[in-house]
Symmetry: C2
C-alpha cells in the first residue's frame, strides 16, 4: 500500500458529500428557477481570469486576497474573487453587437484568500443577477424581485428576511444639505460602511480624517437617523413598484446601507435575516462605471451577488437540517442472484417511464434491502423474490404509508 497522504480538502476549500449536495442543489435550483422566471439569461466564464482584469477592478484589499499565479508561458492569471470584472469584460468584448438591456445571470465559484475565522471559507458560490444598459428603476425592481423570489422558492418569507434598501444619491443629497462637500462623500461612505463593525467613536475619527469638522461629524450621525424616504423620489418609486410586483413586504428603508465598494452610484441594498443572526444574505445596487474602468463604453447597470454559504446556514436554522431531503424514486432489490435479470429489467422499464430508480447491485435479505431503501430516501421500493418472478407480479411498497400495490413484471 502506498504512503498515506492527507484526505482533507485544501484549507478553506469545501467537499460536498451527497448530504451536502442536497442542500446545495436546493439553493442552486431556487437560484436557477428564480432567474428563469424573471427572464434572465444564463452566462458563465472560467474561474481562471487574467490578473490584470481582477486587479483593475478590485480595491487594494481585494487585490491582496486574490489567488494568483503564472502559467507555463508566464501569463499572470488568477482565480476570480467575484464575477463582476468578468461580466464587464464579456460585455465590453461584444458591446457593439449585444442587444441592451442585457438581463444576465450566473452561479459563479469565487475565491478569496482570507484569514480563516470560524465558518469563513476561501471559496464560495455566488449567484449573480445583473441588468446592463437600463436606467429606469424597473431594473432595480426586477433584480431585487428575483432575489426575493429565490428566497421564497427555498421556503422562506418576509418574516424571515428583509431587504434593506437605501440610495447613495439620497445620502449624498442629505450630506450636501448639511454642508458636506461632494468630494468628501467617498470618505464618508467608507467610514459609515464600517458602522456596526466598529464603535461610533472610531467612525468619528475616520470622518475627521476625511476632512469633516466636529459639526459635520455630528450632522453625519444625525443623517444616519433618517427614517423616511419621502424626500427621495427614486426610493418612493421603488417601493411603489415593489407593491405592484408583490414583494413590498420584503423591503424596508435603511439609510445605513452603504455597501463597501466605491462603484455604487444609486440604489443600494442588502438582505438580512430578521433575527439579525447571520451576515448579509445578498447585496447589490446600481453601478454606472462598470465598463469604463476597463476601457469599455459607459453603461448603467444594476446587479446583485447572493452567496451560497449564509443562506444555507439560514435555511438549516429556519427549516431544520433535514428540510432539503425529499423522498423520491424507487428502490429495486432482489433476494437471490436468480432474480437479478428480472430486477434489472424492472429497473429499465421504470426508468423508461421516467422514474428515478436505485437498483441494488447484489442479492440481499429483504430486511437489509428495505432498511437501505429507507435511508437512501426512496419514496417506494420493490423487492423481487423467487415467487414474484415466477408469478410475474411484484409488490411496490410506499415507503411512507407502507401501503403496497401489485405491479406486473
Amino acid at each position: 500500500m502506498a504512503e498515506k497522504i492527507s484526505f482533507e480538502a485544501p484549507r478553506g476549500m469545501r467537499d460536498f458529500y451527497p448530504e451536502d449536495m442536497v442542500w446545495r442543489n436546493k439553493v442552486f435550483d431556487a437560484f436557477r428557477a428564480a432567474g428563469e422566471a424573471a427572464g434572465f439569461e444564463p452566462y458563465d466564464s472560467c474561474v481562471v481570469e487574467s490578473y490584470e482584469l481582477l486587479a483593475r477592478k478590485a480595491g487594494e484589499e481585494v487585490g491582496e486576497q486574490i489567488y494568483h499565479f503564472f502559467d507555463k508561458s508566464e501569463r499572470h492569471i488568477a482565480l476570480r474573487a467575484e464575477m463582476t470584472p468578468t461580466l464587464a469584460r464579456m460585455v465590453a468584448q461584444r458591446q457593439a453587437e449585444l442587444k441592451f438591456p442585457l438581463k444576465w445571470t450566473t452561479i459563479a465559484q469565487c475565491f478569496r484568500y482570507e484569514r480563516m475565522t470560524k465558518g469563513r471559507k476561501r471559496e464560495h458560490y455566488q449567484w449573480n443577477v445583473d441588468i446592463i444598459g437600463e436606467d429606469s428603476i424597473l431594473a432595480e425592481v426586477e433584480v431585487i424581485g428575483a432575489a426575493c423570489d429565490a428566497l421564497r422558492r427555498m421556503g422562506l418569507d418576509s418574516k424571515d428576511f428583509k431587504v434593506h434598501v437605501s440610495s447613495r444619491k439620497f445620502l449624498g443629497e442629505l450630506l450636501e444639505k448639511s454642508g458636506i462637500a461632494a468630494e468628501k462623500h467617498a470618505q464618508v461612505f467608507l467610514a459609515l460602511d464600517k458602522r456596526g463593525k466598529m464603535p461610533d467613536t472610531e467612525i468619528a475619527v475616520m470622518l475627521k480624517d476625511g476632512g469633516l469638522n466636529d459639526a459635520e461629524v455630528a450632522a453625519t450621525f444625525a443623517i444616519m437617523d433618517t427614517k423616511s424616504y419621502e424626500e427621495c423620489p427614486e426610493l418612493k418609486e421603488l417601493f411603489r413598484l415593489a407593491e405592484i410586483a408583490g414583494f413590498a413586504d420584503c423591503l424596508m428603508f435603511d439609510i445605513s446601507v452603504i455597501r463597501g465598494l466605491s462603484y455604487y452610484t444609486g440604489i443600494v441594498f442588502e438582505c438580512f435575516d430578521t433575527a439579525g443572526e447571520f451576515r448579509a444574505i445578498f447585496g447589490g445596487g446600481r453601478y454606472d462605471n462598470l465598463l469604463t474602468t476597463i476601457g469599455g463604453q459607459p453603461t448603467s447597470a444594476v446587479g446583485l451577488g447572493f452567496g451560497d454559504v449564509v443562506v444555507t446556514e439560514l435555511l438549516k436554522s429556519r427549516l431544520g437540517t433535514d428540510a432539503a431531503k425529499v423522498k423520491k424514486g424507487v428502490a429495486v432489490g432482489f433476494m437471490f442472484p436468480e432474480q437479478r435479470d428480472a430486477a434489472l429489467k424492472l429497473a429499465a422499464t421504470l426508468r423508461k417511464a421516467g422514474e428515478k430508480v436505485n437498483l441494488s447491485l447484489k442479492s440481499q435479505k429483504p430486511k437489509k434491502f428495505f432498511g437501505a431503501a429507507d435511508s437512501s430516501g426512496a419514496s417506494s421500493a420493490v423487492f423481487l423474490g423467487p415467487d414474484d418472478v415466477e408469478k410475474g407480479v411484484a409488490k411496490l411498497k410506499n415507503m411512507e404509508t407502507r401501503e403496497e400495490v401489485e405491479i406486473k413484471l
Copy 2:
C-alpha cells in the same frame, strides 16, 4: 476613461455567452437527468486540490500539465486535471462510515495545460459517474447504461454513437496464451493504446523495446484482429445484461480499446460517433487500485469520464446549431410609460402562475417589441397599449402560430 485592457478570456479558457449556455445546459441537464434516473447521488469538491494528491495519482505526463501554485502560506495547491483523485480522497476520508457500494456522480471542471492545437482548450467540464465497492458486472452495466441514457436524452441514438467495449483481463489472457509473460503486459497495453495515433511499425518498435521478440510482436498484432468475445465470460455477461437493460444496440466489442491510464484492471470502454469524425465522447472502465494509491483500503470501482466539448460538437453537427434553442416563456411589453405599472402587474401574475416572463423595461413601439420578443425565444407575447389597460383585457399572442387569445389584466 481608463486604459483599455484585453477583453478576451485567458488563453485556453472559455466564455459562455447566453447562446453558448443554451448548449451547455442541454448537455448538463441530460447528465443530471441520466444520473438521477439511474440512482446516482451528486457530490462535488473544489477545483483547487492539493498538488501532492494530484501528482500521486497522475502519470508523469499529466503531472507536467497540472496548473499548480503556492498559496500565501506556501501550501502547494493545483487545479484538478480530472476528478478521480478527489473522488478517491473523499471516499478514503470517510471509508469507515460510508455505505458501499457508492453510486456517485458529478460534473467537474478540469484544467490541463496543453499546447494549444485547433479546438483544444485548457479547461473542460467532465461528467463523472462512478460505482465504488461493487465487484459484479452489474456495476459496469449501470455506469455504461447511464451514459447511453444521457446521449439519448440529448437527442442521439445508437445510429449516432457506439460504445466500444473490451476487457483488459481478456486481452491479458490472450497475450499469455501467446506466451507473452504478464510482467510485459503493461508495456504492451501502453504500445497498443497508441494504435491509430502512430503507424504500426512504430508500435512494433515500442513492443520490442518492451522485451517482445519478433514472434511475440506478430502474435500481439494477430490478437488485435480478435473479433469475438465468446471466450470472455465477463464480456458475454455484459452484453447479455445490456440486452435486458435495453441498450445492447449501443455496444460493440472492440479489442483495440485499451485506455491509456495504467490503473484499469477489467472492462474498459470508449464511446465514439459512428461516422468516426470526432475524438472519444466518453471513456472509462473498472479500476481496482483507486484508494490504495493514496493510502486507503482496497476497493473495486467502475467509472467513466464524459467531457462536454466533444459531445457538444457532435450534437451541433447531428442536430443542427439551432437545436438547443427552445421557445419558451412570455414576453411582456408596453407602449407608453403609463402602461408600465399594468405590465409589471401582469408579469408578476404570470410569474406567480409559474411562467417564465421577460418583461420589457421601457416603453416601445409594437413592431420593435414583437421583433425583440421573437429573437429572444419567447413562445408567446403580450403588448399593452392604452386601450388594453383601459378595457382591462389584453391579447396573448402565440409567437409560432400567431394566434391570439384574450387575457384579463
